[in-house]
Amino acid sequence: MLSFGVVVFPGSNCDQDCFHVTSTVLGAPTRYIWHESQDLSGLDCVILPGGFSYGDYLRTGAIARFSPVMAAVARFAQAGGLVIGICNGFQILLEAGLLPGAMLRNVGQQFICRYVYLRTEAVDTPFTNRLQPGQVVRIPIAHGEGNYYADADTLSQLEANRQVVFRYCEADGRVTPAANPNGSVANIAGICNRERNVLGMMPHPERCSEPLLGSADGRLIFDSILARMAQ
């Protein structure tokens, strides 16, 4: 059976939501990985959950990237293991250099907690193979520093390698400045690495993986991971 690991940093607060989705909703074996552990044995997918690791001190994700578990996560990713960083997890992946770019404070300075629409830009990833090209999904965000930044060279490489996985959009899929909640360059909400086995995204799929919660669109991402791992 395929199994998930959910990393717990001091200050993580979406770890239990992720654990609930993979263990109870998907029915997959799941275990917590304390940030001081380096034991990822037997895992197929590692989740870096949302929250405020180390109180967001200095910069979001800046201290968490030096946790012992992150060296193991880097090796795991290099060996082809699946890694998904959600919100603070995405910020940690950026600080760790496992994904390119950096995160700035939201334009407008506000912490934003609401549903947004995302357009699926790449379906040839282990995280989106159950989605259609251009499919619009409704997934909530909750962050103060989700303004994704990459310089012009990095951005053109991301586009050329089709590493942009999700963009903020209108309900009908149009990518407009008005649909951009935080000022992210090119409306970017999620990117993957060149090898496509590491995904970072600001929206929270684990908060919308059951119809009872108002949207089950997030489940498509977890189902994609299961489908990929089952191959």
């Binding site: 201290i63 950096a102 700035l104 300075q109 000022g183």
Partner: protein, 84 residues
């Protein structure tokens, strides 16, 4: 020898500083309309042991590159002084 390091970390000029922009707008509301720009950065003070000032400077610059600043979006400056 003991040294004191004063580190200033600031967003690169090419990066939009939403916080600085909010501060500028706040100052304008208070009537300080002559302010045409504001940038908000971080000040970090370190006390450290090093053989001499040049090595203290080099050490702290490495700390900036490793942790204190994110070179993708931030610049830093380091000022070392002796500690009595």
């Amino acid at each position: 020898m003991k040294f004191k390091a004063a580190v200033i970390v600031s967003l690169k000029p090419t990066v939009l500083d939403a916080q600085g922009e909010t501060v500028r707008a706040g100052l304008h509301r208070l009537g300080y309309t002559g302010v045409d720009a504001a940038r908000v950065g971080k000040y970090i003070e370190l006390s450290l042991e090093a053989p001499d000032q040049a090595q203290a400077q080099a050490q702290v610059e490495r700390m900036c590159a490793d942790l204190l600043a994110n070179p993708i979006i931030e610049d830093y400056s380091v000022q070392i002084s002796g500690q009595p």
